[in-house]
């Protein structure tokens, strides 16, 4: 098995349908397959183990993804916003690698080049910020990605007029599964390379978009733009999925009013689980509008597990807790990886993966996510490791100690805040430190709030009191 099979089937069954781009002039499934065979043959000849994509979502994205699979290489989309040094470091770790290039869109098809059948081979590598400083490369194999597709998507189930607006970047798991799911369903993808609410709404209208996935920060901006200008409507939209971070209840309530005809889906999943493991569907969202408090509460849940997935909540001793009790959320199923390059699998002997999220399951089997069990900051759907930012700050010659925390933020869910103490006789302004971090690891991970103090709050043994840091910074 190989994820290239999804494209092969779409090209066999729906070859003339537009797969990617505008209805007029977009690439058909047959054309994407032609390019994937050409790229695959090129990649196989080059001896590369990895195809890196350093680009926003464009026509090159599906060609790089399926071309890598066709050539037996792993697809590794990188954050194109990273500073050059950090990007080169990641590329170095992926060697031998080919970097996807727009010239690939002109490659001649090599119909005789078949994709390899290597189900356990890494199909996709995604760099994630966990609780460690160094970004880790999560590994998703062909059979894991296919398990999710075959369990949750029906082949060619999309109507001829369906179109999905993809606003998440390629280096996000949702940017990978959007392409795989839409290809298998036969749903045209409309890329939105750089998200703004205005562009999203304009593109959705111009392209008669029927399906979309957004992270909560995007939805908050879309809702605000629509409330500012009542003429901004997307009448064709019939399906709006969201996930990546906790959705603020007021934003969801406003969105439900602004898109009365759309079916809403809340999707919960991790990079390490090949995307969605639990969904709250359109019926649950509609039921919440009837005013029944029990149905309303359910809007803050992420629904029930998708087929093929088991979810359980366990206590600190590893024992499963009763319904409605909180604990750590564990998942198991054929789509669950938990493998990292150079580290092997984080699943236990029975196949369970610890998500690091705290949550509970109610008596009807609905899962509620209460937050991260560790210190990970989730800003606009991006997981950010405080340790990586603390390390960056500590690289500055004036910095003695640093603590980075997430503070509640209405627009982003959380924002990055730092507290720093300086070495004796050293000096640095907050702006100088922010610029230093920005140049080292990029704008996403640059603290939006930075306070220089004489001494960080700590325990007698010198352990930094994160809760105190958070309270102090929130009080600024």
């Amino acid at each position: 098995m190989n994820i290239a099979m999804l494209l092969e089937m779409a090209a066999d069954g729906l070859g003339d349908r537009v797969a990617f781009g505008s209805r007029d002039g977009g690439l058909t499934y047959a054309r994407v397959r032609e390019l994937a065979t050409g790229v695959g043959a090129h990649v196989a000849r080059s001896g590369a183990h990895t195809v890196a994509l350093v680009h926003e979502t464009t026509t090159l994205t599906p060609v790089a993804l399926f071309g890598a699979a066709w050539g037996g290489a792993s697809y590794a989309p990188l954050n194109y916003r990273l500073p050059e040094a950090a990007r080169l470091e990641l590329l170095h770790r992926l060697r031998p690698a080919e970097v996807a290039d727009d010239a690939w869109l002109e490659f001649a098809p090599e119909a005789g080049h078949a994709f390899p059948d290597e189900p356990a081979h890494p199909a996709v590598l995604l760099f994630t910020s966990g609780s460690t400083a160094e970004p880790k490369a999560a590994v998703l194999s062909h059979d894991q990605l296919l398990a999710y597709q075959l369990n949750t998507v029906e082949f060619a189930s999309a109507e001829d007029d369906e179109a999905a607006l993809v606003a998440v970047p390629p280096f996000h798991i949702a940017g990978v599964t959007a392409i795989l799911s839409s290809t298998y369903a036969g749903r045209r993808i409309v890329p939105l390379p750089r998200f703004t609410a205005e562009e999203w709404l304009a593109t959705a209208r111009a392209e008669s978009v029927t399906h979309a996935f957004v992270v909560p920060t995007m939805l908050a901006r879309i809702v605000a733009a629509m409330e500012d200008d009542p003429d901004l409507r997307v009448p064709t939209l019939r399906h709006l999925a969201y996930g990546g971070a906790r959705m603020p209840a007021p934003v969801l309530a406003r969105a439900l009013r602004l898109f009365p005809d759309a079916g809403f889906v809340n999707a919960y999943g991790l990079t390490e689980t090949s995307s969605t493991v639990s969904v709250l569907g359109p019926d649950d969202h509609r039921a919440a509008l009837d005013g029944d408090p029990a149905n309303q509460r359910r809007l803050s849940s992420v629904g029930r597990p998708v087929p093929g997935i088991e979810v359980r909540v366990v206590d600190e001793q590893g024992a499963e807790v009763p319904a409605d009790a909180s604990g750590e959320v564990h998942v198991r199923g054929a789509q669950v990886s938990g493998d990292y390059v150079g580290e092997g699998s984080h699943r236990d002997g029975d196949g369970w993966l610890r998500t690091g999220d705290r949550g509970r399951i109610d008596t009807d089997g609905y899962l509620y996510i209460e937050g991260r069990g560790d210190d990970t900051i989730i800003r606009g759907g991006e997981n950010i490791s405080p340790a990586e930012i603390e390390d960056a700050l500590l690289h500055h010659p004036a910095v003695a100690s640093a603590a980075v925390v997430g503070l509640p933020d209405e627009e982003w869910g959380e924002r990055v805040a730092a507290m720093v103490s300086l070495r004796a006789n050293a000096s640095a302004t907050p702006d100088e430190l922010r610029t230093f971090v920005h140049d080292l690891i990029g704008s996403l991970k640059t603290p939006e709030t930075l306070e220089v103090v004489d001494e960080l709050p700590h325990t007698a043994t010198g352990k930094i009191l994160r809760r105190q840091v958070k309270a102090d910074l929130a009080g600024l």
Partner: protein
Amino acid sequence: MANQLGKRYQCSMCEATVLITKAGDGELSCHGQPMAIAQAKPLPSSD
């Protein structure tokens, strides 16, 4: 009867399921009986 691309065929006696990845002629059988197309369980798209 030809097999339909992308459809699942199921055995009524056991749990065997076959997904057709290449359409073709011929008939799938299991436990001495022809396998029938399994009805899809629609799931809302989450991506």
